[in-house]
């Protein structure tokens, strides 16, 4: 099947696209039908949030032992004094998962979470790590996971894109839109950015003052002109697709605003997501939109928390993480609770994590530098164990130690949960069958139910 075929299949019926792009159906039964990825941009600190290290308290103020001090850092913090967690941890729930006081609401849901404490990646720099977490490669230009999934599975709703991204309204993702780009895959698989508000997609709505009836008349003329054009030519997928895109665009104009219209949500639901509090309203709104989108068939939703600086706590972990945890903890917990009560958590995978974690030693006294060598990523929902911890870092949280999970392993596992064999989701480019996971990636069986 050529590219033109993919494009038309994508347009003429998303379910048909799924049937044709993966010719033998899904590789295995999918536990996760959709993904909500809460991307904590800037690098949240695992040693403060998910991975308690008594050694940091014991050796506070001393340098890390020489045997562990061989690693690259961004700001030469290698010999800086070790810094204990900024807040206490408590064992929560029946599972006794260690939960930080930074995240009291999520703490209540400890038994729902699967914490991978042994993640690791390959770059100490933000953009390279943002790219790697999204595309598997540290340089921009490869397709993002959402693009691969759309390419492989299509969407469940032909009126909505299959991969939607809601950037932080503060802007400034380190690395920019290539993080949700389609790389060498057709452009139709790139993430569609969607904003809260009346016009969630660029140019979605007709200019003010143009009635529906007036636009419909124009569209009908476009349709007739296109049919006249096509009737004088040989069958052509592109021409037929262009006919269809105008109808799809028209449907999106009513479908997309409906998705972002929260009028139909109850006060209780809004409260659940923290819409009643100015500090949580913004992220809560996007979490609620994420639920509304997956309900309407969007397969892959990615939310970013954090503007240019985001969770990048070089100066002061306590103040940075207090602010960002306050803004996101309740909305994330609200999303999990809401998904669960609606029965959606069973087949929806929720991912919480950043592009890397942070160093066990201090920077500028109270801050921490980037640490890609060991950090935590948290999963919840479809197909993953609940109240579970996978792997560990060394005594100081410096690097992945037991059962390490490379970014590509994480990718292989997420695709697996969606019923896709990461070695068989390929696209021929530059003479190679390209994959999200490149030449690596192993499914982390230990976290699967």
């Amino acid at each position: 099947m050529g590219l033109a075929g993919v494009a038309i299949a994508h347009l003429l019926g998303q379910e048909k696209a799924a049937a044709t792009t993966i010719s033998r159906g899904l590789h295995f039964p999918a536990k996760a039908k959709r993904v909500i990825w809460l991307f904590m941009h800037g690098g949240p600190s695992h040693v403060d949030l998910w991975d308690p290290k008594p050694a940091l308290l014991k050796y506070a103020g001393k340098p890390i032992p020489d045997s562990l001090a061989k690693f690259d850092t961004r700001r030469e913090v290698r010999k800086n004094p070790l810094l204990p967690a900024a807040k206490k941890f408590h064992k929560m729930g029946e599972s006794g998962l260690d939960m930080s006081e930074f995240l009291p609401e999520m703490g209540e849901l400890a038994d729902e979470l699967c914490v991978i404490r042994s993640c690791h990646g390959d770059s100490v720099n933000h953009p390279q790590s943002v790219y790697q977490m999204n595309t598997g490669a540290t340089l921009a230009g490869k397709p993002s996971m959402g693009s691969w999934v759309s390419y492989g599975l299509g969407s469940e709703n032909e009126n909505m894109p299959s991969f939607v991204v809601m950037p932080d309204p503060g802007g400034g993702l380190k690395g920019g839109p290539p993080a949700w780009g389609s790389g060498f895959l057709p452009a139709s698989y790139q993430g569609t950015t969607l904003r809260p508000g009346a016009s969630p997609v660029l140019n979605l709505l007709p200019p003010s003052g143009m009635s529906n009836e007036r636009q419909r008349a124009t569209l009908d003329l476009v349709k007739d002109l296109n049919h006249a054009h096509l009737s004088e030519r040989n069958e052509d997928y592109q021409l037929m697709a262009r006919l269809e895109t105008y109808e799809l665009a028209f449907r999106m104009q009513s479908a997309a605003p409906e998705v972002v219209d929260l009028k139909g949500e109850t006060e209780a639901t809004k409260e659940l997501y923290g819409l009643d509090d100015s500090r949580t309203r913004e992220f809560g709104t996007r979490c609620l939109l994420a639920r509304r989108m997956i309900e309407r068939g969007v397969r892959f939703v990615q939310l970013y928390s954090g503007n240019t600086n985001g969770w990048d706590a070089h100066d002061d972990v306590l103040s940075n993480h207090s602010r960002l945890c306050k803004a996101t903890d309740k909305p994330v917990a609200g999303l999990l609770r809401d998904l669960k009560s609606r029965g959606l958590l069973e087949d929806t995978l929720v991912i919480w994590g950043g592009e890397f974690g942070r160093m066990p030693m201090s920077e500028k006294g109270k801050g921490r530098d980037h640490n890609p060598w060991g950090y935590s990523t948290v999963l919840a929902g479809a197909g993953v164990k609940h109240g579970h911890i996978h792997g560990s870092t060394d005594d100081f949280g410096m690097r992945a130690d037991v059962d390490p999970v490379h970014v590509s392993d994480l990718h292989a596992t997420i695709l697996h949960l969606m019923g896709i064999d990461h070695e068989r989701l390929t696209f021929r480019f530059n003479g190679l069958d390209q994959r999200l996971t490149g030449v690596r990636g192993h499914v982390v069986n230990g976290i699967l139910t």
Partner: protein
């Protein structure tokens, strides 16, 4: 699942980047065969027999039966293949179709009404005179190639190849203040028809070879870069590998970059070959943290640089020392040719630039003519223009490609002569896919019929229709509304962006907008931000400028439709066209005729006339006539005849 073809572009060197090897966590080892020099595989006879690696010889020109259908040598290759399949060329296209096709092709703009009328009249007179004397089509082609609009049009394809943008990319994506000078150099060089071997060589070593063409070397540093990297050694390594990979893709049509971590998995390019080629560029001046790339980096390093293989593509694992040398497979006569010692007057890049652009470099010439063909026929003769190796697609007409490749040096490396050859052949001038549809409603056809159509496409049994690019769409809209500014050159135009797009820019990024008088300039002059393409261009498949792109994808999406229907730009264009065509009066038929001629460079068909007049009458009954005309014009620029060229 696997797809036969990909059109967008990935770093040939992306493999290396899976393993930056910064020494943190364990990496999965990939198999290595030991010392990359002592274990280097010899080039075999079979390697040299592969179509693109074969020595370039001028093929015999095939004999055809139907000599009447042939206009020049190109046609003989095409018609011979058609005859072998029992087919022939379609009839020659009518002047109206032809002038729209060739004007968009050579200038990226639609012809004006006056140009169409003049050409149709001249063509009629020529036909009436028994097609003797000078063909008005030939003078049309000559006029278009002499227009400054030609270079503006042809430059975009080259800038796609050069992964050109005016910002760094990565986190900060800062502006490169002088990057536009390279863009202007490309336009001017194409317009004055700088011989292509010099055009190419100056981009590798203009600073060394020809001071007045120093800015051409901007090609080398046009890609993404991370000046704020904490690891400047890594930055330099990635940059040199990126340059080497791009040289391989652009000037040899080979995925040389696949050999930076290990020997090329499919093609006879060893890892040693890669680092020998890179050694020509290793002498660049050291990078400085937070300092953007500039031509100063092209200056030779004050201290001698020893070139080494990077084991597994990891700069922290230096391997054997290598000497600068040309790719073994691309040396027609012998395997390893170490570059002549560097004299005081000849920089290392000059040596490689001269070697790359020799008239016996089959890869260089085949890659070049494959792309020139693509420029005119919408698709290349060999389907993967940046990969002519074993994993790429074989050419549909290998002898024609070789003939064209040998013809370019004979034509004194003049691209304009090659363009003339291609756009004046009968294959180019034949009808597209019009008027041949069998009866029945639109809908899928039987498989056999589809396969026959695909074969016709491959054989060029008709001219392939193409969709306009985003840049052409914008330029055409400005042109047909009479607003296009033809101002050339200079610093790029910063178009206003919708607030929701503007708000995604970082604090340090310049947000200024050019004066409104600049907004109607051609798209080639629009500021090319790497991390944020202009929305209309992005929607219509402009490549990301992260790697060399030889062939754009052609997507068809609902967001394109939304932009064309609803954007302020489209609305304003529709209003402007409407105001112009309202000068034709209040007769709906006159309005339809005037608007169609303006938008499609031709008069309306009977069906279009009926649809248009019915629409105007119906809408005028419920709204003002002006509104009806505006909506009509908006529909015209949203319909297929606007987007596609037959």
């Amino acid at each position: 699942m696997r797809f036969s073809r990909a059109r967008k572009c990935l770093a040939a060197g992306a493999l290396a980047l899976v393993f930056p090897g910064l020494g943190g966590a364990p990496a999965t080892p990939i198999s290595m065969t030991g010392d990359p020099v002592t274990n280097e595989q010899a080039i075999t006879e079979a390697d040299r027999a592969f179509w693109s690696f074969r020595a370039l010889n001028r093929p015999a020109i095939p004999v055809v039966e139907d000599t009447a259908s042939v206009r020049n040598t190109v046609d003989q290759f095409i018609v011979a293949a058609l005859e072998a399949a029992g087919k022939k060329l379609a009839p020659q296209a009518d002047p109206v179709t032809l002038i729209r096709r060739v004007t968009f092709d050579l200038t990226g703009l639609p012809p004006t009404q006056e140009e169409v009328l003049a050409f149709v009249a001249a063509s009629k007179a020529y036909a009436a005179a028994g097609s003797t004397g000078p063909d008005p089509y030939d003078s049309l082609v000559a006029r278009l190639l002499a227009s400054p609009r030609y270079g503006e049009r042809a430059a975009q394809s080259w800038l796609d190849l050069a992964r050109f943008a005016e910002t760094d990319g990565f986190e900060h994506d800062l502006d490169r203040k002088d990057a536009w000078q390279y863009r202007d150099w490309v336009i001017q060089a194409l317009n004055k028809d700088l011989p292509f071997n010099q055009f190419a060589a100056y981009q590798v070593a203009g600073d060394e070879m020809s001071p007045e063409n120093a800015v051409a070397t901007g090609f080398l540093i046009a890609g993404p870069d991370m000046p704020d990297s904490n690891f400047q050694d890594e930055r330099r390594h990635l940059l040199l590998n990126e340059i080497t990979s791009t040289i391989g893709s652009v000037f040899m049509g080979l995925t040389v970059g696949c050999a930076q971590c290990h020997d090329h998995p499919y093609d006879p390019v060893s890892q040693a070959d890669f680092y020998r080629l890179r050694a020509f560029f290793d002498h660049m001046a050291p990078l400085k943290k937070e300092k953007q790339l500039s031509m100063a980096n092209a200056a030779p390093s004050p201290t001698p640089v020893v070139s080494r293989i990077c084991l597994r593509g990891d700069h922290q694992r230096p391997g054997p020392v290598v000497q600068a040398a040309f790719l073994r497979i691309a040396n027609p006569d012998s395997d390893l040719v170490v570059a002549a010692p560097i004299s005081k007057n000849t920089g290392p890049r000059t040596i490689v630039a001269r070697w790359l652009t020799q008239s016996n470099n089959g890869l260089f010439l085949r890659a070049t003519m494959n792309r020139i063909w693509q420029q005119h026929f919408g698709r290349p003769l060999a389907g993967t223009p940046n990969d002519l190796g074993r994993q790429g697609e074989h050419p549909t007409h290998p002898e024609l490609l070789d003939w064209l490749a040998t013809e370019l040096p004979l034509q004194k490396w003049s691209l304009k002569r090659m363009h003339t050859l291609l756009v004046t052949c009968a294959t180019y001038r034949q009808l597209g896919e019009t008027g041949t549809r069998s009866s029945g409603p639109a809908g899928p056809k039987p498989a056999a019929e589809r396969e026959a159509a695909a074969e016709d496409n491959h054989l060029y049994a008709r001219y392939p229709r193409r969709r306009l690019s985003g840049e052409e769409i914008r330029d055409a809209l400005l042109s047909i509304s009479g607003r296009l500014s033809l101002k050339t050159g200079g610093p790029s135009v910063r178009l206003p962006l919708p607030p929701e797009v503007m708000s995604t820019l970082l604090e340090k990024q310049a947000k200024e907008v050019s004066p409104a008088s600049e907004w109607t300039r051609r798209s080639i002059y629009v500021f090319a931000r790497r991390n944020l393409r202009y929305p209309l261009f992005d929607l219509f498949d402009r490549p990301d400028a992260l790697v060399s792109c030889s062939r754009r994808s052609e997507s068809t999406t609902a967001t394109q439709a939304l932009s064309m229907l609803n954007s302020e730009f489209s609305q304003e264009i529709a209003r402007t066209i409407a105001a112009e065509v309202r000068k034709a009066g209040t007769d709906p038929a006159a309005i339809v005729a005037a608007a169609t001629v303006r938008c499609y460079s031709r008069g309306p068909s009977d069906r279009e006339m009926a649809l248009g007049t019915a629409f105007l009458q119906k809408r005028a009954a419920v709204a003002t006539f002006d509104e009806a005309v505006t909506d009509y014009c908006l529909a015209l620029i949203n319909a297929s005849p606007f987007f596609y060229v037959d």
